[in-house]
Symmetry: none
Subunit: 228 residues, 4 copies
């Protein structure tokens, strides 16, 4: 997961100046910037294609067309298809981690913290392309040990550690009655994972109110009833 610039403007990947057209409007749009834009266009296109088709079935041709670059250009930014995939998948969620896993603040209840997490998860993951990336990791992880490794190291272990800390805090405070829950933070996250999978596979068969489901799950954990 070598050379991805962590900078990457996440916000507006559009604005791709037609290659070969007149100079871009803004004078500040220099070579390096345009290269970064191109790179970002490739990344976005590739993610979309990988999500839609999976690793093997995705064609570099389609990525290039979608990104508006020539096929060869991809090789100026990535060593090969496999490297590109691993790099993309690895970096796609990381910038999000800090927001999703806030340090357990002493102020406020743990339940509030988890509600915040649920809300953020719904907004930033479940209803965006990132949810599909999770599914993609599930799909391709076993064939890409590097990806599974990376995810365990950077996302799963950290996320579960943070979650465990929260649970222990809640137990210490008496918010949670089940002390053994701290042994399996996965239980707390499981419905969120299931929500993501459901959206991908079964939403059109039977829509799922994931937000509500997460609330009910928190009710279960915290032994109380809350209304939205």
């Amino acid at each position: 997961m070598a050379n991805a610039p962590k900078s990457a403007g996440r916000t507006k990947p559009a604005h791709r100046p037609e290659p070969g057209r007149a100079a871009p409007s803004r004078a500040s749009n220099h070579r390096a910037e345009r290269a970064a834009e191109r790179r970002q266009a490739i990344i976005d296109a590739a993610l979309d294609e990988f999500i839609t088709r999976g690793f093997t079935a995705t064609r570099l041709d389609d990525i290039a067309r979608r990104a508006g670059v020539a096929k060869g250009t991809i090789y100026l930014h990535f060593k090969d298809k496999e490297s590109m995939f691993e790099e993309l998948i690895s970096t796609a969620i990381v910038p999000l981690l800090s927001r999703l896993i806030p340090p357990p603040s002493m102020s406020g209840s743990v339940r509030d913290a988890l509600e915040g997490f649920a809300k953020a998860f719904m907004q930033e993951v479940a209803t965006t392309r990132r949810g599909e990336i999770i599914r993609l990791v599930v799909a391709e992880g076993p064939r890409f040990p590097a990806i599974a490794d990376f995810y365990y190291r950077e996302v799963i272990s950290r996320g579960l550690a943070a979650m465990r800390a929260l649970i222990e805090l809640a137990i210490a405070r008496g918010e949670i009655k089940q002390p053994e829950l701290a042994r399996f933070p996965q239980i707390v996250v499981a419905p969120a994972i299931v929500a993501v999978i459901w959206k991908s596979l079964f939403e059109r068969h039977s829509p799922l109110d994931a937000t509500e489901m997460l609330r009910v799950h928190l009710d279960l954990i915290f032994g109380e009833r809350r209304t939205t």
Copy 2:
């Protein structure tokens, strides 16, 4: 998987059923048997390969080699790669359904029923190839609507309906305090799904005692504490 020896049955000296004689049931059975065996070998090999590599990356060559048959033989049993995949994935879990989804019996507690389910799930799914098939459905479902459709219709909707019935029974009996849980039977199943995914992706990074996790989760749902 040990592939069948090519020469199997080579020693058998003919037994050519006289055209005028009675029904050569023994020979026919032998033929049919061998055909069934071959078919099963192909199915097993194909499932293994699909699980390991996903649909697109799986080569029919490998399936054939693993099954110990020639490539062409596969086409005596399946129309093409895609049909084979859809048929395999669809039928692989169905025979299991009746055992995993027992009719909610009036006798015995719901908790016991769910413990039975958890145990069966661990034995029959999580620790077998079937768990990987679930992951495969998650991976390829979006690209194979027929598969997602089939799973929703045959597995998901039935399973959730049965689960909801159990939950409602438990609520009526006072076993479960959270009436809203019936709205989201997914919550009850979620840790099992997560367990399956964990086994595939992260087991070697950090082994998960799924059985114990499911027990803790049931404790959470039923508000009591049980020891194994």
Copy 3:
């Protein structure tokens, strides 16, 4: 999804002239030239192979080898084997039509016009690959309705119409005594067709002086005797 317009690739070849240098007309021309050369090499090779082996028995591998290109290159120029065949067969004779079917000029006798046709046919068709293409149309036409359609529309109906006009002119002028000949211009062309077939199949068994045969046939039609 910030994807580029799907049409980027093909329609708009990005027209990126070296930013610093002048228009590289030479290089561009060279590219285009080489592409045209390659395409022509493929066409020639394909025609030869199709003529020699027929459609089904022709291997793209052989075409590629004969054309001196890689197999994949063929697919840069033709959609698939069938399209290639239809396109080649359809276009191979058209450029010749105007020369073979001259407008019936008032000056000169019809016999002279037909002698001119016979001469052109011998030079341009019977003794070249084009004769074999006619045989190929006879061979594959029934299986490629598009080809039969095309040939009827572009070659046969036009050719026969022109021939009929010539015959009617000759009848009006008294050059031809048989008024019913105008109903079957095929009769006039038949020996030419037979000559082409003969060359392909029986020339080595018994050489045919097709030119002389056509002359004798014209003698028959015009009721006179001419010497070469």
Copy 4:
């Protein structure tokens, strides 16, 4: 047309006694006879398939199905696909030769003889499967020298010799004014060949009254006008 009914293959397996069933109804239907029937069924089916698809594109599977026999049975009668093709094509027309090429009788005019030939050709060739066989020879001849050889030796050279003898007789009798016609008997046959090709390729675009065309052609050759 001596071909098997098109429906023979699947629905009515050409009177193939279910192997293992009772004896066929007719007592005279012995083993050898049934073998001959089978062989004929294969021949008919194969001819139809070869005519429809050409040599390479024809599948033995289809021949077997159409003939109502198993694929392996074909190999009891023919060495391989190529031998079968050569044998079929070679023998398919020969039985017809004696009827099409009657010895030039002294009684009756040559014109009458040729009218007889034209009539027989229309009845026995142009409007039957045999016409298509001629087209097949044109199509596959170059790739099967044995077939071209056979046809030249058995059909073409004999036919043309007979035709030449007729022409010379007609010249001697003054029926034909064009002495050079004897050098090119092909001219006399050409419209018949063209008629056969036309039927295969262009009949649906523009129906051809071949009988009438042949009559007009004879009018041309004999310098008279006849009405049907």
